[in-house]
């Protein structure tokens, strides 16, 4: 019986998940400059392989996505972030 119940619930979910609206954290927090000397912060915009995450995942606005990309590249040049890795986080 218990199994049946769970199956029914799966087919007709009682609550429809409300999509959380993404927002640009720089716009919201009024940040104007992205520091390349702070690798811990920049890691939020990288995946495990050290690649830059796309805008559609992070919700960053175009203006700041460009700035993030530049900051990450500067940081990589100074060996504060890796160019290629595995298991960054």
């Amino acid at each position: 019986m218990a199994q049946d119940n769970s199956e029914i619930r799966y087919l007709t979910p009682p609550t429809v998940e409300i999509k959380k609206k993404k927002y640009c954290r720089f716009r919201k927090n009024r940040l104007r400059y992205i520091d390349y000397k702070d690798p811990e912060f920049l890691k939020k915009f990288l995946n495990e392989q050290g690649k830059i995450l796309p805008r559609r995942l992070t919700g960053t606005s175009l203006k700041f996505q460009r700035k993030i990309a530049v900051a990450i590249k500067r940081s990589r040049h100074l060996a504060m972030l890796p160019y290629v890795t595995d298991m960054l986080k």
Partner: protein, 139 residues
């Protein structure tokens, strides 16, 4: 020059400060080899500071980050001494500084960046916060 002499002193002061303000502010970070001793490192820092000041640059701030681990090996070295200098200078002096960086074998990597107005504001804020923290620690 003749025009400047006729101006009142406050006007000259104003123009001078305006001129200083007009200079671009730059930020340069370099990584030196970990093989260096402390005195050798100090000497290298002094050398680059001298290059900046000799070309009529004005050092705004400098910071020593010490020996740090590199995210990937550079010239088969896994650590390096980081040093940051913030300065104001004429744009054509940057090429001179970078040539010196390239000539110097002790330097593994360097990066010079022109600071836009938000970067300057950010750096000033960061410095103010840091000095406030130090004050608190002293008390």
């Amino acid at each position: 020059m003749a025009i400047i002499q006729k101006l009142p002193t406050f006007a000259v002061d104003f123009l001078l400060t305006k001129y200083l303000y007009m200079l671009n502010q730059y930020e340069t970070v370099f990584i030196a080899t970990p093989v260096l001793s402390e005195s050798q490192m100090k000497e290298a820092v002094a050398k680059f500071k001298k290059i900046v000041t000799d070309s009529k640059g004005e050092i705004v701030y400098e910071e020593d980050w010490g020996l740090k681990k590199l995210a990937y090996p550079i010239q088969k070295k896994s650590t390096g001494f980081y040093h940051l200098i913030e300065f104001r200078a004429e744009p054509d002096q940057i090429a001179k500084l970078e040539i010196e960086y390239r000539r110097d074998e002790r330097i593994l990597r360097f990066l010079t960046m022109k600071m836009e107005k938000y970067a300057v504001a950010y750096a000033e804020k960061k410095r103010a916060r840091k000095s406030a923290e130090q004050k608190q620690e002293n008390e």
